[in-house]
């Protein structure tokens, strides 16, 4: 293949194209420029954040579905004839479901803080730790946040 402006460079000018004897190899443009592990730091961080967000969504969904199933089971047990063991089972299921539901947002907060901390965004990790600390203080003191 002959490229129009090929040939020796003119004086004080740099050649921008060169003469080539053959066609470009087809696989050349498809070759990766860098190795996958040598991705830019930002892109790696974005990938990690996206994976972390998926985990946060999973934690929230698992908490909601598990507690929902426990509440549904407790409602189904109410249809059974009342005796001591059924009553205890209903009580345990409801307490477990309520605890699960209350822990889930706090776990999400801790995960978000950890995730952003791992990305090097320490300010947000510190904010998440601060929120959890203040909530613990508020609950301990009996305030309604």
């Amino acid at each position: 293949m002959r490229v129009p402006e090929a040939g020796p460079p003119r004086r004080n000018a740099q050649a921008t194209t060169v003469a080539l004897d053959a066609e470009f190899p087809q696989e050349l443009p498809r070759e990766p420029i860098t190795q996958p592990e040598a991705l830019p730091r930002e892109r790696r961080g974005a990938r990690r954040l996206a994976a972390g967000e998926r985990w946060i969504a999973r934690v929230l969904r698992t908490g909601a579905i598990t507690s929902g199933c426990m509440f549904v089971t407790s409602l189904a047990l109410e249809a059974l004839p009342r005796d001591e063991s059924v009553h205890v089972a209903i009580d345990l299921l409801r307490k477990g479901a309520a605890s699960m539901l209350l822990v889930t947002p706090v776990a999400r907060l801790a995960m978000a803080g950890t995730l952003l901390g791992l990305r090097g965004e320490w300010r947000y990790a510190a904010i998440a730790a601060g929120v959890i600390g203040l909530l613990a203080l508020a609950v301990g003191a009996g305030f309604q946040a």
Partner: protein, 260 residues
């Protein structure tokens, strides 16, 4: 039959709460007190539990669709919790009725502005395409929202969504999804405080939470498809109800002293 009706109330509150980022307590408390004759001391913690359930179910979908802004949520959450603690500390020195009237007038103003605004603003659809501005206003507004939640027992959603949308230039859907994420944490702390004092009726909570979870999962899917203009109008209508509740609450406390 009562269990089914409670579930239906939960579905309604969950759907509306997930769509608008307000938690759903605003709908649930009047329904429980006026519709089912449940005392307010039991209705408030039960509705807060539903707010937590709503937040967990809806926020999962919003985080997955990159609609919730985690950084903004964390920042405003800190201010909200600080405001709530401050509100709890000064509650004994502040006239609740007066705060309710001021909050009622503010929500009335915001809702009328949203209802009457004719020019729609073009908004980006996801949390990736914008940068929130005016953080000082957002943080101070969240502090006030936290204080109001402690003083009046209202969730921060009705205040935080307009604050983020109009004060910080956050797209409405992102503001709603981020508010949904935040109300879960503050709601969980409030419920824990009620449970600590033995005021949480789990027999009442069970059917409500089941309904709310179903409603929230439907609402979170609907929100992605509903046009922003429709959501804004719906939000304004709910704000009008909140304003009415707050003005009524404040009026009940203020009118006797005005007459005297």
């Amino acid at each position: 039959m009562t269990v089914l009706l409670l579930m239906a109330a939960g579905v309604l509150a969950g759907g509306l709460g997930a769509l608008l980022g307000i938690g759903g307590g605003i709908v649930l408390v009047p329904v429980l007190v006026l519709g089912f004759g449940i005392p307010l001391e039991q209705a408030v913690p039960a509705s807060l539990m539903c707010v937590v359930a709503n937040s967990c179910a809806a926020a999962a979908s919003y985080v997955e669709n990159k609609l919730s802004d985690l950084r903004l949520g964390l920042t405003l959450e800190l201010a909200t919790v600080m405001g709530a603690i401050f509100g709890g500390l000064v509650a004994a020195f502040v006239a609740e009725a007066m705060v309710a009237v001021v909050f009622g007038l503010f929500t009335l103003f915001v809702s009328l502005q949203m209802l009457l605004m004719r020019r729609p603003v073009q908004e980006p659809a996801t949390a990736a395409n914008y940068v929130p501005g005016n953080y000082p206003l957002g943080i101070s507004g969240s502090f006030v929202a936290g204080g109001l939640s402690a003083l009046l027992g209202v969730g921060g959603g009705p205040l935080k969504v307009p604050l983020m949308t109009y004060g910080m230039r956050v797209p409405f859907k992102v503001a709603s999804a981020t508010s949904n994420l935040m109300v879960g944490v503050t709601g969980a702390a409030s419920v824990a405080a009620y449970a600590w004092r033995g005021q949480l009726n789990l027999g009442l909570v069970a059917p409500l939470v089941v309904g709310v979870l179903a409603g929230a999962s439907v609402g979170s899917k609907l929100m992605l498809k509903t046009p922003t203009a429709v959501l804004k109008k719906l939000f304004a209508a709910v704000l009008l109800i909140v304003a009415g509740q707050m003005l009524w609450k404040g009026g009940e406390g203020l009118w006797p002293s005005v007459w005297k």
